[in-house]
């Protein structure tokens, strides 16, 4: 990759998600942080991609058209995020510095161990290869799209025209989103999917766990750091079967179903739990997470719906908080719509 492509990668995979996230978290009550805004930003961008790609597939739009629309909308959302938070942004560096100064040496050591374990996983995701036969569909779909400048027009197995659209995948076009990112960054699909995205998505998974740490332990930094160490070790030793979420997270994070298991389901659970404590402003984020789950996997349509349903039962129905129930139901509407569409087109 050329230096310019690295700049594009940092801009589109870090700066834009953080800024988009700022727009989404602007109205939330408390616990605003850069980590939270990056996670929310990705949820927002995934949701945006789903809203662009699914109609694009049925309208037979070209890939470059989709890329333009995605770029315009995401830059608009990022700009809105910066504009809305312009006053808070000035305080961010000083707040980060003051937080860093408060950290004790023992806590630094624990954070270093946790950070090292995650860093090792990131390095291994770059240096090692895991061959997965499912890539013959997922990654080849992205390669075919970039090569032909189409979305789901050609069969990735053969390169020939689809006779009939693959109903399981057209409603969850994560591989097309990978094609969009590849075009934007200006690299090739295998490098994007096997090298850049694992770093981004693994980091995102641990950002979600960091948010969990903050939710469970509050400002107790020692416990937060220990939690990160334990959770990264649990993930690294979760290969007791090929089915576990840890195996998917570390071995094939570039596939949509792995993003669902490793990033979006923990993020949805986090958001549902957070909304139980603090209702104000967080619902659009849950809505984005539901749409994001639809983007990454057809399984995500039902699993995120089920998860939100269970949390709604616990926090809404059992405690008779009908507002919680109503808002959660509203957030699940995309899943219900996509489920109906799936039944109609399969």
């Amino acid at each position: 990759m050329q230096p310019m492509n690295w700049i594009y990668a940092i801009f589109w995979l870090l700066a834009v998600p953080a800024a988009v996230g700022m727009a989404l978290i602007w109205y939330t009550d408390k616990n605003k942080s850069i980590c939270f805004s990056v996670v929310c930003g990705y949820a927002g961008l995934f949701a945006m991609a789903q809203m662009i790609l699914v109609p694009g597939i049925f309208l037979k739009a070209s890939l470059h058209t989709v890329v333009y629309i995605y770029q315009i909308l995401s830059i608009g959302a990022a700009f809105a995020g910066i504009l809305l938070n312009r006053k808070n942004l000035k305080k961010v560096p000083s707040e980060i510095m003051s937080k860093i100064k408060c950290v004790k040496i023992s806590e630094w050591m624990l954070f270093s161990i946790g950070g090292f374990l995650i860093f090792v996983q990131l390095v291994l995701s770059v240096g090692l290869v895991h061959q997965d036969a499912d890539d013959s569909f997922y990654v080849a779909s992205a390669s075919t799209s970039v090569y032909t400048d189409t979305i789901f027009v050609y069969n990735p197995y053969t390169g020939l025209h689809y006779r009939r659209l693959p109903s399981r995948y057209v409603l969850s076009p994560f591989s097309m989103y990978e094609a969009v990112l590849t075009k934007i960054v200006g690299t090739d699909v295998p490098y994007m999917v096997y090298t850049i995205l694992p770093v981004v998505l693994l980091s995102l998974a641990y950002l979600v766990y960091w948010l969990w740490a903050k939710l469970l332990f509050g400002d107790n930094r020692k416990q937060c750091a220990l939690f990160l160490i334990f959770i990264s070790m649990v993930q690294m030793f979760s290969n007791y079967s090929i089915y576990t979420s840890g195996t998917f997270l570390l071995m094939r994070i570039w596939q949509g179903k792995a993003v669902l298991a490793g990033v979006l389901l923990p993020a949805t659970a986090y958001m549902c739990s957070r909304l139980a404590k603090e209702e104000k402003g967080g619902w659009p984020i849950l809505l984005c997470l539901q749409l994001a789950s639809c983007l990454v996997s057809s399984m995500g349509i039902i699993l995120s719906l089920l998860m939100t349903g269970i949390y709604t039962f616990i926090y809404g129905i059992c405690t008779r908080r009908w507002k919680y129930v109503g808002k959660a139901f509203f957030c699940c509407i995309p899943n219900l719509v996509f489920s109906v569409v799936y039944l109609l087109i399969r």
């Binding site: 090692l128 290869v129 295998p190 490098y191 030793f237 979760s238 290969n239 079967s241 979420s245 739990s273």
Partner: protein, 257 residues
């Protein structure tokens, strides 16, 4: 109902394998249920997983989810809803920091890490990974074959028949190369493609038959695994001349139109 129950049990067993993380998870749930101080976290870390487990095993919900929503073959994905890493990490952290003495905390943390390691199975093992041959992380033989075909054909149409391993991965790297079938003959629209896939994945196939099917599938390139000089000559007789060999794969180009 009995079938559904068996399916749930088999799925549960297959998911957890031989490892002990399930016991760590269940012990963690037990600890959170018993400890009065943990009442605030019970909804997130105990009630929610309990409901997931009930839905997973309850025959009616299992039947609906497995047969009408996600499919029996992937019913194990329901278990992704369980917050296993969260519960284990949370309980380990709480137990470690329950003691005031720093030395004991460190020792306890080391013990817990040891238990996590010994009761689990490592992801980073030789069977799962190998070092990257190139920046695209495509195996050497697949990339070399694609490069040979591209160098030979240029911008002209390229259609290839190859054994399953090559057919599975080549279009990730080279989407400009068309195929009559993909991984495990997926995407094959004609019987010719399926027959060709079967033949090319046998230990030995009659060159005349393979060449005829490849011609009928309009393939101008053909890869055969483990061919020898005699086979090369035979393929030459039937219109496919040897272009090169990469490891055990022989690449042929169609010469007769």
């Amino acid at each position: 109902m009995g079938n559904i129950w068996n399916m749930c049990l088999e799925t549960w067993r297959a998911y957890w394998g031989e490892a002990g993380h399930i016991f760590l998870f269940l012990l963690g749930l037990l600890y959170l249920m018993v400890r009065k101080k943990e009442r605030g976290k019970r909804n997130i870390l105990v009630v929610y997983p309990f409901i997931v487990i009930v839905i997973f095993f309850f025959p009616v919900t299992a039947d609906v989810i497995a047969n009408y929503c996600i499919g029996q073959s992937v019913y194990w994905r329901m278990l992704w809803l369980l917050p296993v890493p969260l519960v284990i990490a949370y309980v380990c952290t709480k137990l470690c920091t329950a003691i005031k003495n720093t030395g004991l905390q460190v020792m306890l943390a080391a013990v817990f890490l040891g238990v996590i390691v010994l009761s689990g199975a490592q992801v980073y093992v030789k069977d799962n990974y190998h070092r990257a041959d190139n920046r695209e992380k495509i195996s050497y033989d697949v990339k070399a074959l694609a490069d040979l075909i591209r160098a030979d054909a240029g911008d002209k149409r390229k259609k290839l028949s190859a054994p399953d391993y090559i057919a599975t991965y080549i279009r990730i790297y080279a989407p400009d190369i068309q195929m009559p079938y993909g991984r495990s003959s997926r995407g094959a629209v004609r019987e010719t493609g399926k027959q060709l896939h079967l033949l090319l994945n046998q230990e030995w196939a009659e060159p005349a038959q393979v060449a005829e099917l490849a011609r009928r599938a309009h393939c101008n390139y053909l890869v055969v695994k483990g061919a020898d000089e005699v086979m090369d000559q035979k393929y030459g007789m039937y219109g496919y001349s040897l272009m090169g060999t990469i490891d055990q794969y022989h690449l042929y180009r169609r010469v007769k139109q």
